[in-house]
């Protein structure tokens, strides 16, 4: 059904690429993050739920065919269906069915509930192509209610001491998930970095309920930010943009924050372990639930995940991608704030 080419995953029968990393004729896009949605292809197929964020990313003149989740589309005899992946707004798994054979490409996904996007759905298949960003047993997420409680405590303590709270999270997805998580907290005003505000508005336009935010840039000189929460992309860390906040504390919301060294080298005051990817136990449970006999592993700790599944009796293959997601390197070095955590 699928082969690995210079441009990424390709379905010869349908003539479509999935998240190609160079321009092609027909591309199916799982979600709008920079390492999955690349410019320059002639035609795109993507989920309707992600229309606005994908337009913001690909531009208004890109040729995009939008389909609803669960609506099969026939592409040269291959039935292509997009299914919610629970990663960010509009994120999709790609289900391909051809002559009774079913494959599912997960894209990036998580199984935890997230009020900013449709929940992940398990799809039974013969072959499952899974991401593995956090594919090591050290990555286990605690319930997000605990993580948000920590974040609110941090904000509250800072507010009590007259400090601003600057939390970094990827501008698309994580930032809005943080905002949704603090909805109704009413500790202080919430400000946003420009990159975050634009995408947050896209989320609101798509009907996602988020607290009131004010772009930092609209505030007059000399504004006091004491007690406020400021949501910014990781690229803002260490920049002069932060100076206006006076006395502030910094935090990063990311799965990488599970590891102490990753917190410490960024010189952060806090690291909140909040990820939009599956953790190790959920990855294994999902593979089981799909019923797949064959698993391709991509994006992340491919080899360990493949070997572990192999030892459990599955056929596997570790698929190289241009985005060597293994380890932390490219979560902020490669495509900057566009990639995910």
């Amino acid at each position: 059904m699928l082969t690995v080419t210079q441009s990424g995953l390709y379905c010869p029968a349908a003539g479509i690429y999935i998240d190609p990393w160079s321009p092609v004729d027909r591309a199916v896009i799982t979600h709008a993050h920079g390492d999955h949605a690349r410019w320059g292809s002639r035609h795109y197929l993507a989920s309707r739920a992600g229309e606005r964020v994908l337009r913001t990313r690909l531009g208004t003149d890109a040729s995009i065919e939008l389909v609803d989740y669960g609506q099969p589309v026939d592409v040269n005899g291959v039935s292509v269906t997009l299914v919610p992946a629970g990663h960010i707004l509009g994120s999709a798994q790609v289900r391909l069915e051809h002559r009774g054979e079913v494959w599912v490409v997960s894209g990036d996904y998580k199984t935890e509930p997230d009020p900013t996007c449709a929940p992940f759905e398990v799809v039974r298949c013969h072959t499952f192509v899974t991401e593995s960003t956090f594919g090591l047993p050290i990555y286990t997420w605690r319930p997000q209610t605990e993580v948000f409680a920590e974040l609110l405590d941090w904000w509250r303590d800072n507010a009590a001491e007259g400090r601003a709270s600057v939390v970094y999270g990827y501008a698309l997805g994580k930032a809005q998930r943080i905002l949704a998580g603090v909805l109704g907290a009413e500790i202080g005003p919430i400000y946003t970095h420009g990159a975050v505000e634009r995408l947050t508005q896209d989320y609101r336009d798509a009907g996602v309920s988020l607290p009131l935010t004010t772009p930092v840039v609209t505030m007059p000189r000399g504004t006091s930010f004491a007690g406020s929460l400021i949501v910014a992309p990781p690229s803002a860390a260490g920049s002069t943009w932060l100076r206006r906040f006076g006395n502030y504390s910094t935090a990063f919301a990311s799965g990488w924050m599970r590891v102490r060294g990753a917190r410490r080298r960024r010189a952060l005051d806090r690291g909140f372990v909040l990820s939009d990817h599956v953790d190790w136990p959920s990855l294994m449970n999902t593979v089981d639930a799909t019923g797949a006999e064959c698993v391709w592993v991509t994006h992340g700790y491919r080899e360990p995940v493949a070997r572990y599944l192999e030892e459990r009796g599955l056929r596997t293959s570790a698929i190289a991608s241009q985005w060597e997601g293994e380890g932390e390197g490219d979560d902020d070095a490669g495509a900057g704030e566009e990639t995910t955590s």
Partner: protein, 539 residues
């Protein structure tokens, strides 16, 4: 345990020195003395003797988490910290409040009843104790427990910060606490009370003074004023130490606060001729025939468990004495350097008392003009010194590192251009990134590895290089990646000598990255002959 874990988390969560000190001061003023004593012990770098091999813990963690060994290894390579890997692979504790009661057990009970006895237990008993602790603890507490029982507990505070926090909590002068903590004290309630006791007349006879340290020279020399106001000495590269003679006994303290008396019998023998109530500050140097030997010789001697007559005769040591801190039991640190130096020379220059020249006053470098200093500094390698020290003649002997009256002025390091050939993930704050690199120089058509370096790149450069490494790996051996020999770096190092233990035949000292030479192709890197020539020039 809970409040100690919270203290640890508070310290770990901030990069601000002030907040760290405030968190510790807060803990010290509220904790029971029995707990505060152990907190001081661990925070200041105290380690119980190895109670349990960390590998044994890893085995139990694999069993408990049902993670196969190869996958545990992968995880460890990603993080670079065994205790942390163990804490993270173990199943998350079911949040039952504190049903087992482990969190409310005070720190001193954890240490005295569960940690220290580990050393005496059978393996089966150890396993039972450790597994019980893992089940009772979660997250940070579990990590701390692993670190405590493997003697690897470390958090981003220095002894100096602990001293500052104790001083803030107790109101006792920092210098007094530094003096007390530098000596022998026991982590008991009484020991803690003695550390912060307001009665300051308690000089334990063994205690050294806090070392006074110099900052690197920042300005041009003329900014220091008149050369005549300054005393110049060589900056020796040995082991900074204090030799204390009190109550008929000798104590030798290293700058790291270790009592190293037994390691230097020749100094102990000579010290018997020092009058009671004397404290010398100086550099322990390998020395023969009136000149310094290479530092590597001293390393060879330090490496030995037993000091036989052979090594003692091959690598004799002296104390090149910088300062006299105490004479006839009187603290001289507030006297001007000029006066301390006069007393030092009077004490050590009597040839009848000191026929063997084991305590040598640090030679004064003649300096009529600043140009003399420049010339001397440039020639310091010829004496196996690493630069000059400049000290104001009217300066007191301070505490810790202070700016203003003492400066160190080191010579430029050696440097060569080399190519990176191996990379592996780092530890601690460099976990998950490739930050440990091996470099090679050219030898004909071959590349010969000669140095490893871990420091010198900015965080942004490390990330860029990490991404490059992942995409240009030729081969992987466990955590080590063999990469295409493309990236060229200028490496700086302090010393170079022949070595039979290294494949290249060369050993360099303190190598680090000076610059990423993106402008230079690997065909233009330095050769093994260049390194050999550097050795010949400095033998």
């Amino acid at each position: 345990m809970r409040s100690f874990a919270r203290l640890y988390a508070d310290i770990d969560a901030t990069t601000s020195t002030n907040r760290k000190v405030a968190a510790m001061a807060d803990y010290f003023s509220t904790a029971a003395p029995a707990d505060a004593a152990w907190a001081v012990y661990f925070l200041a770098g105290g380690r119980p003797k190895r109670l349990i091999p960390v590998r044994r813990l890893a085995t139990w963690a694999m069993e408990e988490s049902r993670v196969p060994d190869w996958l545990f290894e992968e995880s460890y390579h990603a993080i670079g910290d065994l205790a942390e890997t163990i804490a993270l692979v173990l199943p998350e504790r079911v949040d039952d409040g504190d049903a087992h009661g482990g969190l409310s057990v005070p720190l001193h009970e954890w240490v005295e009843r569960r940690i220290l006895p580990l050393g005496e237990m059978t393996e089966a008993e150890q396993r039972e104790t450790v597994l019980a602790a893992w089940r009772e603890l979660s997250g940070t507490e579990r990590y701390i427990w692993n670190k405590l029982i493997t003697g690897a507990f470390r958090v981003g505070v220095s002894e100096q910060l602990v001293v500052r926090a104790l001083s803030r909590a107790s109101g006792v002068d920092e210098g007094v606490i530094a003096h007390r903590i530098g000596g022998r004290w026991l982590p008991t309630p009484e020991g803690f009370s003695a550390l912060v006791a307001s009665d300051e007349a308690d000089a334990d006879e063994s205690r050294p003074y806090p070392f006074y340290l110099a900052y690197a020279l920042e300005d041009e020399l003329p900014a220091l004023g008149e050369p005549a106001d300054w005393q110049a000495e060589w900056k020796w590269d040995g082991i900074r130490a204090q030799v204390i003679r009190r109550g008929g006994r000798t104590y030798i303290w290293s700058r790291g606060g270790e009592l190293v008396t037994d390691r230097f019998p020749e100094l102990v023998a000579a010290a018997e001729r020092l009058p009671d109530g004397t404290a010398l500050d100086g550099e322990i140097m390998p020395w023969s025939g009136g000149v310094a030997l290479p530092f590597a010789q001293l390393q060879r001697r330090i490496g030995r468990k037993k000091l036989g007559p052979k090594i003692l005769s091959e690598v004799p040591v002296v104390l090149v004495t910088y300062d006299l801190l105490e004479l006839a039991g009187r603290d001289l640190r507030d006297e001007p350097l000029l006066e301390r130096r006069r007393l030092l020379e009077a004490l050590l220059s009597d040839a009848n008392t000191w026929p063997d020249q084991t305590f040598i006053p640090s030679p004064i470098v003649h300096m009529a003009t600043w140009d003399d200093a420049v010339a001397a500094q440039a020639a310091s390698r010829e004496r196996r010194a690493e630069g000059l020290m400049l000290k104001r003649r009217d300066s007191a002997y301070g505490v810790g590192r202070r700016k203003g009256s003492w400066w160190k002025w080191k010579v430029q390091p050696f440097s060569v251009d080399a190519v990176m050939i191996y990379a592996q993930p780092g530890h601690g704050r460099r976990a998950l990134l490739h930050t440990d690199y091996t470099f090679a120089v050219r030898d004909g058509d071959a590349l010969v590895p000669f140095a490893k370096a871990y420091s010198g790149l900015t965080d942004a450069e490390i990330r860029t290089l990490d991404a490059w490494i992942r995409r240009h790996t030729v081969e992987k051996f466990g955590p080590v990646r063999h990469v295409e020999p493309v990236q060229v770096f200028e490496l700086a190092f302090e010393g170079i000598q022949r070595s039979s233990r290294h494949k290249s035949g060369v050993a360099v000292r303190f190598p680090r990255i000076a610059r990423w030479r993106t402008d230079k192709p690997a065909s233009e890197i330095d050769t093994l002959d260049t390194l050999r020539a550097l050795i010949r020039a400095h033998e």
